[in-house]
């Protein structure tokens, strides 16, 4: 199974409309709608609900004043970092001040969503507008403050340095400075957020369904905030229509408010986010401004690199500094920077919060580093691929320690990778060396074409741990669960493949459950391309444990030595001796001595069934009943996947429209479990990379209104914009985990802007320093460059 193109077991169900997403659940529930701030920054003077109270079907209106206990405190700051000394998080409902358009002020519970929205329309909120801080320039000016008690709007300043970058740059033969920026974008899963909570008054327990990337953590958060013993709360993820990072943030205000209201009202309560709410009250990403100084030698080798950047974190910092920390470390990609200094400031603005979106700070870093590589090549007149080759970390230098601290608080040490081999594959795939003549021929016809490269390294599979549980049922089927969640990536398929191989059963016999705290209580979540590495390894270890137990029981039953046994298609047999075998289901029966029987299988395990050793306990010493096991995987450090993309674009000399002619990917995620799933992940990632390079941006006006908060004007690429993607794999297995895998979830998106900017630059002949870029912007650049 491992390494094969297995079709996803999820798909028949999802494609035939049998998926169960959050809004498919809880038709009996009361509905919620929110009054959200129309102002980017304002004091709330008064909330008048009198006009709303007469509406038929209204159940309750809650404002901050109704919140009790710990729900009235600010939401948690999830990943505190010592340099984040001005962290701020919102209240579930605004306490007197709103800091972005879309911040929740009042919660309406009603018989259905229509009524709830009508009530929202009748609630009068009086505001005293405050000056809004929109964009990094305004934030850095510091004329107006987002939070009155945060001077200069600076949430945190962080510096890391290896060697003396300033000295190395000063001493270098050549120097360059670059100013680069990347716009905001966002995850935009097809399914927005949603929460359904049911309170069982007799049991004093909560059952919560939520569209999250981390059900175990939401469970802890709800228990803590609502002051309920954690064993009285279970959190389940139904099918999830995409996450891409935005659903790793938790608890969202609604994940506290909906269960809180359900308990208070003693009735099921449901909230499903609409698209506009998703735009203005969930999270965005990207949004950075970089100032780079670099020193290099005559061959284009880096001597020193100094990067200062400003990260727009929006109104609050619930997810800490993860995004800018990743940018500041993963910017280095496959290169040795010489001396390196990075300093960033994470800045408040009166806009939606910024938390990881697929790629999580890496697309920005990759864009910066690859622009630097291209600038060096242009300055010295060296082929762009050659400059990269000269700066690569070599395979013999693995594991490679950058001397920096990574997002997991551990040293940034690359475990594996063969960058020269990856680039060689990419050059062959795209025809790098032949491109000059293609470009010249196109020019002769009046066409403009260009090629660009983008290389990245991605820390995947960050800790601390994941676990797996596996049980063989008496019918021989295998049920597996892991605590982390699935948003449609195909985790059920991939994990079933691993179990099928490790245990020796047919894949059809394996059923996998993810993200259900009733089944598995300890987990971290789905993010950072970590599922294959973390849960994959955990279920592999679990399967090995259960296999060992099965062999032990079977050895006893078959009167053979454990080492002589093998498991094939669920049958345990003596190698080379056909006829003597026992199926896993029977082993499960034997593992669990019974007093009662309900079927023929169980009858075989009852106390009068077989020969019994009256001197031994029915469950042998040191064993537990049942053919099941649990194990965990907790690595010392992250794995590092890598990849390189090459893009060929054509730009219209007149209209400045930008067309992608070819998109080539060489990808190294270690051992590939299922090429079809990995390629699917790359395809989706590339689509989002193209989106971030050419289409998607968040258009805020100076007042902090998001002008394009709908799919009419926020441009997602369609099939008509996503190019055909050519892929080649390189497999350098990770030494860190039992499977050698490195994670592939975010890969496709990371170098999109870097490679596409480079290709446009190659076609146009002037530097591209800001992404994304639209035809209108390219037209402006052309005018500026010929006016000069």
């Amino acid at each position: 199974m491992f390494g094969q193109r297995i079709r996803r077991v999820e798909d028949p169900r999802l494609l035939s409309g049998r998926g169960r997403y959050l809004d498919d659940l809880g038709h009996d529930a009361l509905a919620v709608a929110f009054v959200r701030s129309p102002h980017a920054h304002a004091r709330i003077v008064d909330i008048d609900v009198s006009a709303a109270l007469a509406v038929d079907g209204l159940v309750a209106i809650y404002t901050y004043d109704d919140l009790d206990g710990r729900t009235s405190e600010p939401l948690p700051l999830l990943i505190p970092h010592p340099t984040l000394n001005q962290g701020r998080t919102p209240y579930p409902l605004a306490d007197g001040e709103v800091n972005h358009v879309g911040e929740a002020i009042a919660m309406v519970v009603a018989s259905d969503r229509y009524v709830a929205e009508d009530v929202v329309g009748l609630i009068q909120v009086e505001y005293e507008p405050l000056p809004p801080v929109v964009g990094l320039a305004a934030s850095r000016d510091g004329d107006a403050l987002v939070h009155a008690d945060v001077p200069g709007n600076v949430a945190a300043t962080m510096v890391q340095e290896v060697g003396d970058a300033a000295a190395a740059i000063a001493a270098a033969a050549h120097r360059a400075t670059l100013s680069l920026s990347i716009e905001r974008s966002a995850s935009m899963p097809m399914e927005g957020k949603g929460v359904l909570a049911r309170w069982d008054a007799d049991d004093e327990s909560l059952l919560v369904h939520t569209s999250t990337q981390s059900s175990t953590s939401v469970r802890q958060a709800i228990a803590a905030k609502l002051s309920i013993p954690v064993d009285r709360v279970e959190v389940v993820t139904p099918d999830i229509g995409g996450g891409f990072g935005v659903k790793i943030v938790h608890p969202w205000p609604e994940e506290i408010l909906v269960p809180w209201a359900a308990r208070r009202l003693g009735q099921p309560v449901k909230w499903v986010e609409d698209r506009r709410e998703h735009f203005i009250s969930s999270a965005h990403e990207r949004g950075q401004l970089h100032e780079v100084e670099v020193g290099y030698d005559d061959d284009g080798r880096l001597c020193g690199l100094s990067v200062r950047f400003w990260h727009d974190n929006g109104a609050y910092t619930p997810y800490g500094l993860i995004v800018p920390i990743i940018t500041s470390t993963q910017l280095l990609g496959p290169y040795k920077p010489g001396a390196y200094r990075v300093e960033f400031q994470s800045m408040y603005t009166n806009t939606v919060i910024v938390t990881p979106y697929r790629g999580a700070g890496r697309p920005q870093g990759c864009f910066v580093m690859e622009r630097v590589m291209d600038a060096i090549a242009a300055d010295l007149g060296i082929d762009r691929a050659v400059v990269r080759e000269r700066n690569f970390i070599q395979p013999a230098e693995m594991p490679y320690d950058h001397g920096l601290m990574f997002q997991d608080g551990r040293p940034l040490v690359y475990d594996s990778g063969d960058f020269p081999a990856s680039l060689a594959k990419l050059k062959a795939l795209v025809g790098w060396d032949e491109f000059d003549s293609f470009r010249a021929a196109a020019r002769a016809e009046g066409r403009r074409v260009g090629i660009g490269l983008g290389c990245y390294v991605e820390g995947t599979g960050v800790g601390p741990y994941e676990g797996g549980h596996l049980r063989v049922e008496t019918d021989g089927s295998v049920v597996v669960s892991t605590g982390l969640t699935s948003q449609g990536q195909g985790h059920q398929t991939m994990l079933a493949q691993i179990v099928a191989d490790e245990l020796g059963v047919e894949m059809e016999r394996v059923r996998v459950t993810t993200g259900d705290t009733r089944r598995f209580k300890y987990a971290v979540g789905t993010f950072a391309s970590r599922t294959a590495v973390m849960s994959g390894s955990a279920v592999a270890l679990t399967a090995r444990k259960v296999r060992a137990k099965a062999l032990k029981i079977a050895a006893n039953a078959l009167e053979a030595a454990v080492d002589d046994l093998e498991i094939v298609d669920g049958q345990i047999r003596v190698k080379g001796s056909p006829g003597s075998e026992i199926d896993l289901g029977s082993v499960a029966v034997l593992s669990n001595p019974l007093r009662y029987a309900f079927d023929a299988g169980a009858a075989r395990a009852t106390q009068f069934a077989g020969p019994v050793d009256p001197t031994a306990p029915p469950v042998p010493e040191g064993e537990q009943p049942g053919l099941e096991g649990t194990d965990y995987y907790s690595p010392v450090g992250s794995t590092f996947a890598n990849g390189m993309h090459a893009v060929v674009v054509e730009t219209d000399p007149e209209t400045a429209e930008i067309n992608i002619l070819r998109y080539c990917v060489v990808h190294d995620c270690g051992t590939v479990i299922n090429p079809m799933i990995v390629e699917g992940q790359i395809h989706g990632g590339v689509a989002q990379g193209v989106a971030g390079a050419l289409y998607e941006r968040m258009e805020y006006d100076d007042a902090g209104q998001l002008l394009n908060a709908s799919y009419m004007d926020f441009l997602m690429p369609y099939a008509s914009e996503v190019p055909h993607i050519e892929i080649d794999h390189l497999e350098t297995p990770s030494p860190l985990n039992p499977l050698g895998v490195k994670g592939a979830g975010e890969a496709g998106v990371i170098p999109g802007s870097a490679a596409i900017a480079a290709a446009i630059e190659d076609a146009e002949g002037f530097a591209i320093t800001t992404m994304p870029i639209s035809p209108s912007q390219l037209f402006d650049l052309r005018r500026r460059h010929c006016e000069r």
Binding site: S720, P775, S776, D780
Partner: protein, 290 residues
């Protein structure tokens, strides 16, 4: 919100007389978006989807009478020959779903400067048929657009049809969008050659408060074609002529900067589209296929 469902045109007109503030609902691809975004909460909706009279098109001599409720999909499938410019524009509208629901009448009712049917209808010299309980009148497309998203119809009137002469010469349409499908035009341009009367007509979209013609560019080109006998000889157009035409089309536009593009880009792209559409249309004409 009241929901009025008319099944005949006379019912619909009576309802509109009774409640002039009722918002007509055809395919709903504009109306429902506005309601969903809470941009308007009209007191009543007047559903016209059940009114058969609006759903049909017919020929009256060489004039197509296109019912206001005919969808883009049908224009594309059934009227590609008679109304090539409108059919081309229809192909660029939204997605298959939108083209199956959306109608030319709805596009006219919305009268958005970005609506894709306006440039080809301006270029073709269409007439809009407006009806009320007191009678029916037609308004030239040149007088139809009266301001940003407003038109010459009175509150008690409905748009019942568009009258367009079947094409006598090549027609072209070009649109610059922000991506390849499902886009609102950044700018668009329609052009029709009328060799029978030796006239060229144009339509500009998304580059002024209303859809409009580039009247001065049309006269310039029409007289240049006449002067050099080009309608008869069908000889190639001089580069300088095509260029000048582009510049004059551009001069007719009054675009703004917005999230889809800058005014400067809109002007530039209009000149490019004017040149290109003229080039394509003239090549057709010179090839004698029209």
């Amino acid at each position: 919100m009241e929901f009025l469902a008319a099944t005949t045109l006379s019912d619909a007109l009576a309802a509109k007389r009774e409640q002039p503030e009722a918002v007509p609902l055809m395919g709903g691809t504009d109306v429902m978006v506005e309601l969903n975004f809470d941009r308007r909460r009209p007191p009543a909706l007047l559903d016209l989807t059940g009114v058969r009279e609006l759903d049909e098109w017919s020929m009256d001599g060489d004039v197509v009478r296109l019912g206001a409720g005919v969808t883009y999909t049908r224009v594309i499938e059934e009227l590609g020959q008679a109304l090539p410019g409108l059919a081309m524009a229809s192909r660029t509208v939204g997605s298959p779903q939108i083209r199956n629901r959306g109608t030319v009448g709805g596009n006219l009712g919305a009268a958005s400067p970005a609506g894709d049917s306006h440039p080809p209808l301006l270029a073709a010299g269409a007439k809009i048929e407006l009806a009320s309980v007191t009678g029916t009148r037609t308004v030239s497309i040149d007088d139809f657009y009266t301001g940003v998203k407003s038109h010459a119809g009175r509150p008690d009137e409905l748009i019942t049809a568009v009258l367009v002469r079947s094409a006598r010469g090549p027609q072209q349409f070009s649109k610059i969008g922000t991506r390849n499908a499902m886009v609102i035009a950044v700018s668009s341009f329609g052009l029709a050659l009328h060799p029978d009367v030796k006239r060229v007509r144009t339509g500009i979209g998304s580059a002024a408060p209303t859809p409009r013609r580039a009247v001065e560019a049309e006269s310039f080109l029409s007289s240049a074609l006449e002067e050099h006998d080009l309608w008869e000889t069908r000889a190639a157009l001089a580069d300088s002529l095509v260029r000048e035409f582009g510049e004059r089309v551009k001069a007719a536009a009054r675009p703004i900067d917005d999230v889809r593009g800058t005014a400067a880009y809109r002007l530039h792209s209009l000149a490019v589209m004017a040149r290109r559409t003229l080039g394509w249309a003239w090549a057709d004409y010179a090839g004698g296929t029209a």
